[in-house]
Structures are given as structure tokens and as C-alpha cells.
Symmetry: C2
Subunit: 497 residues, 2 copies
């Protein structure tokens, strides 16, 4: 191994140390920080982003890469590490430091403004902050796109989904947008004929919900020595290497939202906790893009934990946690509720059938906004019109409309499509896993996730970024991503086909 490779590895070990600090501070901002500290924190975050930017654009990296590329003594992991370092180097050197700093500050301000604006259902209060974030995201996209030969939007997308292209996504999403409205009609008609599914009666105290969530996390194999469960307005999985923290929010009238949220974030966390330990701090040890990441949360939440098998295991645990009684707590009744399809307003509460419609709407809007094809001030109107078109519902206010998600205020432009790419990927992976390991579904029925998680560790989590997305998926499932298994899954679960 050349000195150049070793220097790169040491350098990116330091980058990881800095990123881990940023991850914990970001978690703190969302979970712990008092309001009055926002400005001070924004200064810290901006500085750390600038320092990080300085490290990942260190001019020595280019020289080290060129030397290390000629190193014949490197193994597959080291080679893949070089590939990932070069990818990040190309993108990061596209950005001037003042743009990185301005963006970080604009995001901090806009996140704070969003919290208040969302509570007040006041889009106008957010508008100037969001406009600044959008303007800077557009600049970032253009700067990266120029270097990569991509449109501004594809350049932003590429950060979350390496190799992802909107032309491909357009085709997949247009197909789904054709399929879904009719399919939703059919499912709703079928479900209207099912027996009534009474809701378990609350209240469901936060402490009992938390205890149930922790129990389910433990069943899934979440490692509490390397993470935490807390509360935040917008649930997320974050933190640092060896410190993978998830959050949820509790509603005392409905425990299933927090529970399914916890299962979802646990799916993310299992991926993070299962990354290759020897490569944890190196780019090749990172999770392989956000659609893979979303696939792991949706695999756990949608594929595994809304299966009849899982509800059969979980129903008595729920009963025990809340001390309920009556038919609402029967597994069949609960399962019908957990697979209930509804035209709803809120993405994070959406069922897996309507969810892609929420994503397609956001994807189309953010693509238009980045391309400057639509004024930001029209966002609420466009949002509501597309909700009517795709889902047949109209938000009564912007809190339940375009203010519901933190992604845009926090600079996550190009992220949304990965949710639905993730749903398709989840279906394809879960299907392949169950074929390869017949013990998976019966295991889930007993609350034993070891067969599932073992397969995921070996075929997804433990591989980090060793392979490009298409190759990883082909090795795991036999082919690159298509929508076939996802549609088949929906038809099977919701139409009994």
C-alpha cells in the first residue's frame, strides 16, 4: 500500500471525526437545544461546515488520489474507497467556501423559521428564509452540475443518490402516477366492503408508547449501547458513527403513528449500525445512497412490520403495553387498520399505497423550483392543486400542506424522490431475502428478526459503499431496480392478487 493511500485514509478519518461532531450537534439542534441558542448554534454549524469543506477540498487530496490510483497493491475495499473519495472530491471542489458558509447559515435560520411558521400555519413567515435557501441550493446545484455535466437538479439529486438521474425517475414516477389513482380507487372500494375495524381506545400515555417502541427496537436488534431514542418534531435517524440516534413524536390519541415511526427509523438505524466496522470512518464504509437507506426503513416498516405475521406477534405486546380490551386489539382487526388505505394530507402518516403520490408531488415541485420554472410564492397554491389532482384532497392550511416537511427549509433539495425509489427497492430486496431465506417470515411472526437482519447484514448493511447502487442491488436481488416487485407487492397485499 502506498503512502498516498494511507494519507487519504488518515485524512478521511479526520473528516469522519468532524462529521460525527456535526451529526451530534445537528441532533442536539433538533432534540435538545433551547430556542434562544439558535443564532449561536448557527455560527457553530457554519464554522464546522466551512472547516469540513476545507478538509474535503484539501488540495493534497487530488495528488494523493492520482498517486494512489496507480497503486497495484490495493484490495477491493481500498479501490472502492478511492472511487468514493474521488466522487466526493469532484463534487466538493465545485463549491467555493463562501457559498458553503452562506448556505449553512441560511439553513439554520430557515429551520428555526420553519418551526414557528409550521406551528402558525404561516407560509409567508417562512417565505423569505426559504427563498434564500432555494437560491443557494440552485447555486450549489449549478456549480456542481457544471463540474459533473448535469442539470442543477440532477447534481443535487446525485448527492443523495449517487448515479441517480431525473430522466430515469421521471419515467418511473410517470408510470406510477398513471397506475396509482386507479389502483387507489380499487383498493378503497375493496376496503369499503371489509368488516369495520374499530380503533383501540386511548389515551395512550407517552411513557407506555415509549416502552413499547423500545421493546420493538430491541426485538429488531437495535444496539442501545450505540444509540438513543428521543423526541423531535420531525422524526429522524441521525447522530454519529457508533452513536446512531433515532427520534419520534407521540400522539396520546393514536399510538400507531409513533410506533410505526420508531420501526421506520429503526430500519435506518439498523443500516447505520450494521455498516462495516473496519471501514466505519472511511467513505467506502458509508451507507450506499439514500434510496438504499430509505429501502431499509421501508423494508422494516412496510414490508416486515405491516405484514400479517408481524402484527400477529405485536398485537399481544400492544395489548399488554396499554391494557386495552375488546375486538379492536385482535390481530386481524389491527392488521386491517395497519393496512388501511386513506387519501391523507400528511406524508409521514401516509400508507404505502398513497405515499408515492406525496413524493411525486414534491419531486415535481422541487424540480420546477430548482429549474426556476415556478415562483416560490406560488408554492402553497401549486401544492394544493397537485394534492387534489394526485390524491383528491385539499389541505385546509399550509401546516397540513407545504409546511409539513423540514426537507426544503433544511436544504434537502433532491432528497424526496429517494423515498419512493426506496419503497421500490425495499419491495425488491425483501422479496429476494424471503426467497433466499425461508425462515424470515416465520421468524417475524415470532418476533425473531435474526434471519431477516442476518441476511440484510450480509447482503446490504455490511457492504457499505463497496459496490455502486445498481451492482449492489443486482448482487442482492438478481437485477437492477424496476417497479415490478413493488407493484406486485401492492396488488398482493391490498387486492389479494
Amino acid at each position: 500500500m502506498t503512502a498516498a493511500y494511507s494519507q487519504l485514509a488518515a485524512h478521511f478519518g479526520k473528516v469522519a471525526a468532524l462529521s460525527n461532531a456535526v451529526g451530534i450537534l445537528q441532533w442536539d439542534s433538533d432534540v435538545m437545544m433551547p430556542k434562544g441558542a439558535a443564532e449561536t448554534r448557527a455560527e457553530s454549524m457554519a464554522l464546522l461546515h466551512v472547516l469540513r469543506h476545507g478538509m474535503v477540498t484539501d488540495p493534497r487530496i487530488g495528488d494523493w488520489l492520482d498517486t494512489a490510483d496507480g497503486d497495484t497493491g490495493l484490495g477491493d475495499w481500498e479501490r472502492a474507497n478511492l472511487r468514493e473519495i474521488r466522487r466526493s472530491w469532484t463534487v466538493e471542489t465545485a463549491l467555493p467556501a463562501d457559498l458553503v458558509e452562506a448556505s449553512s447559515k441560511a439553513i439554520s435560520a430557515s429551520e428555526m423559521a420553519w418551526r414557528q411558521a409550521r406551528a402558525d400555519a404561516d407560509f409567508k413567515a417562512l417565505l423569505p428564509y426559504l427563498a434564500e435557501v432555494l437560491k443557494l441550493q440552485r447555486e450549489i446545484g449549478r456549480a456542481k452540475g457544471e463540474k459533473l455535466g448535469l442539470s442543477a437538479y440532477d447534481a443535487l439529486l446525485n448527492d443523495y443518490e449517487p448515479g441517480g438521474r431525473s430522466a430515469k425517475i421521471d419515467a418511473l414516477f410517470d408510470d406510477l402516477a398513471d397506475f396509482l389513482p386507479g389502483f387507489i380507487e380499487e383498493v378503497l372500494a375493496v376496503q369499503a366492503r371489509r368488516p369495520a375495524s374499530p380503533a383501540p381506545e386511548g389515551p395512550f400515555p407517552v411513557e407506555a408508547q415509549r416502552a413499547l417502541g423500545l421493546q420493538m427496537m430491541a426485538a429488531l436488534g437495535y444496539d442501545f449501547e450505540r444509540g438513543r431514542l428521543d423526541i423531535s418534531t420531525h422524526p429522524f435517524c441521525g447522530g454519529a458513527d457508533s452513536d446512531v440516534r433515532i427520534t419520534t413524536r407521540y400522539d396520546e390519541t393514536d399510538f400507531s403513528r409513533a410506533l410505526m415511526g420508531v420501526l421506520h427509523e429503526t430500519g435506518h438505524a439498523l443500516y447505520e449500525q450494521g455498516r462495516p466496522q473496519a471501514w466505519l470512518s472511511q467513505p467506502v464504509g458509508h451507507a450506499r445512497g439514500m434510496s438504499l437507506h430509505e429501502s431499509q426503513s421501508l423494508l422494516v416498516e412496510m414490508q416486515a412490520c405491516r405484514s400479517r405475521e408481524f402484527i400477529g406477534f405485536a398485537a399481544p405486546k400492544m395489548l399488554e403495553a396499554f391494557g386495552g380490551s375488546g375486538p379492536a386489539w385482535q390481530a386481524d382487526v389491527l392488521w386491517r387498520r395497519y393496512t388501511q388505505v386513506q387519501r391523507g394530507l400528511i406524508r409521514v402518516d401516509a400508507d404505502e399505497v398513497t405515499y408515492p403520490a406525496h413524493v411525486i408531488l414534491r419531486y415535481r415541485i422541487e424540480k420546477a423550483l430548482i429549474a426556476d420554472e415556478m415562483p416560490l410564492s406560488e408554492l402553497p397554491g401549486v401544492w394544493n392543486a397537485q394534492m387534489r389532482e394526485l390524491l383528491g384532497v385539499t389541505p385546509p392550511d399550509d401546516r397540513l400542506g407545504c409546511l409539513q416537511d423540514i426537507h426544503w427549509p433544511s436544504g434537502g433539495w433532491g432528497y424526496f424522490p429517494t423515498y419512493t425509489l426506496g419503497a421500490m427497492t425495499a419491495a425488491q430486496i425483501f422479496d429476494a431475502a424471503c426467497r433466499a431465506e425461508p425462515e424470515i417470515l416465520p421468524g417475524i411472526g415470532r418476533g425473531d428478526f435474526k434471519p431477516l437482519v442476518g441476511w440484510l447484514r450480509a447482503n446490504i448493511h455490511g457492504l457499505g459503499s463497496l459496490y455502486e447502487t445498481d451492482e449492489l442491488l443486482t448482487r442482492a436481488t438478481g437485477r437492477p431496480l424496476d417497479a415490478g416487485v413493488f407493484k406486485a407487492h401492492l396488488k398482493r397485499r391490498y387486492m389479494g392478487e
Copy 2:
């Protein structure tokens, strides 16, 4: 104003942004972090310390300082800011970066080892970690001392107490060590003749204790928009500018420990929250050394909140919080308990009469260890012998002996004497404040701390590091520190003199 001064101010604004990040991460390590993240966190902390060291030793600082010193357009605050920057510059440039990094890593490892060793009362398990920290502290002290013309110990002390010298402290502490054993005897004899003071009967649920603590913090004027109250093994005040967080620990059999701990840390927090807002991120805006800091916590806890006036206000609040009944809840009885003197083992639980003995012991030991006049392996034996000599008690194990404090494992060598310097300073300041503002004590009796905190804001908190310690104290109280008022306070409160 010269460009050089502006550049210094901008540069130290960035140093503050980095220090604030470190402060929050340190808080997280003590309050939130899961065990398995310790190594990863240590990497992050070490990196941030190295980055911070790089910033405060930036070679441009020396040039900027030399140019700015000749700037005739600067006001008093700017001049004092230059003085503080030069002080830090002199000290920080004394240390090579690898020593800073090694020390940071050794401290992280030793803090983790201490948590376990303390729980297990196992000094031997801590010994190798602590030896490494001591070795590096000695190196740090020597390197700084060489630059400042001080002994290694005085150089370490100087970081916490600018201008502090062990020769002065030796004199003060020897005097106290002569005074205390006899005084403690006398007080114990007097208290033995007092009527019995039954203890309030528990259990005292953590939630009720927390609510009472929050109520008292609010009465003191703690700003919850710029801070939090949480739980940690060793209570502290930390966090960042505009984000001043305190912690406590709860014992359900005795609420007074957590309550008095909260009041103590609130004293620290009021100082931090009251620093001059316009200078918050500049060295001149920092608190004026640790004995001043300790004076503010002890002023609140010992001078104000163990006064008969405060207990008169607090007794009905305590009764309400825990729903007790009987003579134990009478203000006179509670006050006798809050001024009860005991020969105890634990510093943080010690009363104000015996507390200085705990500090003198630590001061003498750490001075000997830094000077290499005593092997670290003999610490438990020496500790126990001095406890017998100064306090007449012997720890049954090291958990209740030399493992009780985090200071040494976390690299806080030279810090301990500031506690007792702080107690003397607190007495001197409180006495001057009450003379200048007669409404202070009656206010405390009504739970109205505005007269006290208003005076402290104007005479201590709001001045930051504008003046050197002696000048600050002379302006506030009429003279530099001596032990006279402290002794008079003890004689008045405990002997009725």
C-alpha cells in the same frame, strides 16, 4: 479602529463558535451519549481541540496584536480584549499540537474509565488512565510555566485563575487549615445542644424534585430560553454562549442534595447568562476566572439560599412539592438542617464549614502530584490519611474517597483551590452587595432575587473580563480578597457571633 483589531475580533468570534461546539459536545458526552460511542466521540473531541488549538495559535495573531496595541482609537473594552487575547496567545503558543491532541484523547479515555471505576470503587482500574492524564498535565504545566516564568502547578492554576499563585494560596489555606479544625469542634458542640431537627420523610419522586428545582431556577431569574436542566453523574454548568445548561442528580431519599445542587449550578449559570451580550464571543466577554465563577455559585447556594430568609420563602414551596406534614417542614427546623455541620466524606455534599477542608486536601495532593513529589499509586492512602487529619473521618472505599470527583480524570488540575477562593470571594461580595442594596435580604425572603441579581449583573456578571480579578473585586467590594469576611460569616451564622 485598526484593521488588525477587527481581524482579531473576527478571528476570536470563530474561536467562540468552535468552543461553543465543543461545549455542547462535552455536555452531550456527560448527559446523553451512549456508552459505545465513547471512542468515536473521543476522536471528534480530539480533532476539535486540535482545530481550536490551531486557531488560537494562528501566527497572524501575534502580528495583529502588535499592530492593534498601537491603535489609539480603542476604548476600554477593546483594550481589555487585547489584554485577554495576549494572555491566551502566550499560554496557547506554549503547547505543541501533538501534546494537545494526546491530552484530549487521554482525558476522554480516563473520563470513561472513571465512570466505571467510581461505580466499582476500583482505583486500580483508573490508575493507568489517570497516570497518563497526570503525565500530560505535568508536561502542559511545564511547557506553559517555562513561557510564563511559573512552576508547572502555577501555570496550570493560571488557566483557571488568571494571576493566581500557589504561594498566596498556601498562605490563605494554611491559615484556614489552622482555623478550621478548632472551629468545626466548636460548631459541632454548639449544634449538639440545639433541639433535634427531624428530616422530612421521603420518598421524594424525581419528577417533583425536578419541578421544585425548575421553580427555584425561575425565581432566581434563570433564562430557560437559553439553557436546560438535565441529569448527570457529576453536576455541572456547561454548554455554550446563549445555551447555558446545568445538570443535577437526584436521590429519592433526600431532596435537598439535588435542590442545593441546582441552586449552586444556577449561580454559575446566572454568571454565564449575565455576561456582557455585546462581547459574548470575545475573550473580554468571558467570565473572570474560576474563583469568581465559584463565588457566584456559592453566593447563590451558601450566602443567599442557606440564609434564614430564603428558607422562610422556600419551606412552603418544598412542602407543596412533596406534600409532607409535621414539624420537619417548619422553616426553623429546615434551616437548622440546611446549616447542619457534619464531618462528611463527599465534597459536593459538604457544608460550607467543612468544605474548605476537602479543598485544601485536594489542593495539597494535586500540587504534590504535579511536582512529582508523590507517586500516583499512593493517592488512596494519602487521601485517606489527610481526610483523617483534616476532617477526622476515613473513607470506607475509594468511591467515597479519591474517586468521587471527575476533575482529575478530566484534566482539571489546578482547579480545586478556586472552590475555596470562591467561597471567600462569595462572602466578601455578598456582604458588599447587602450593604449597598438593603433590599437584597428582604427580597430573598419573598423569593424576589431581582435586587441581588441586579446588583450582581451591574457589578460582576456584566463586566466580563473587563478588569483583572483584584480590580474587579476592589471595585465591587472596596478591597482585594482576604479571608476576613468569610471567617466573620462563618462565626456569625454558626456561632451567632
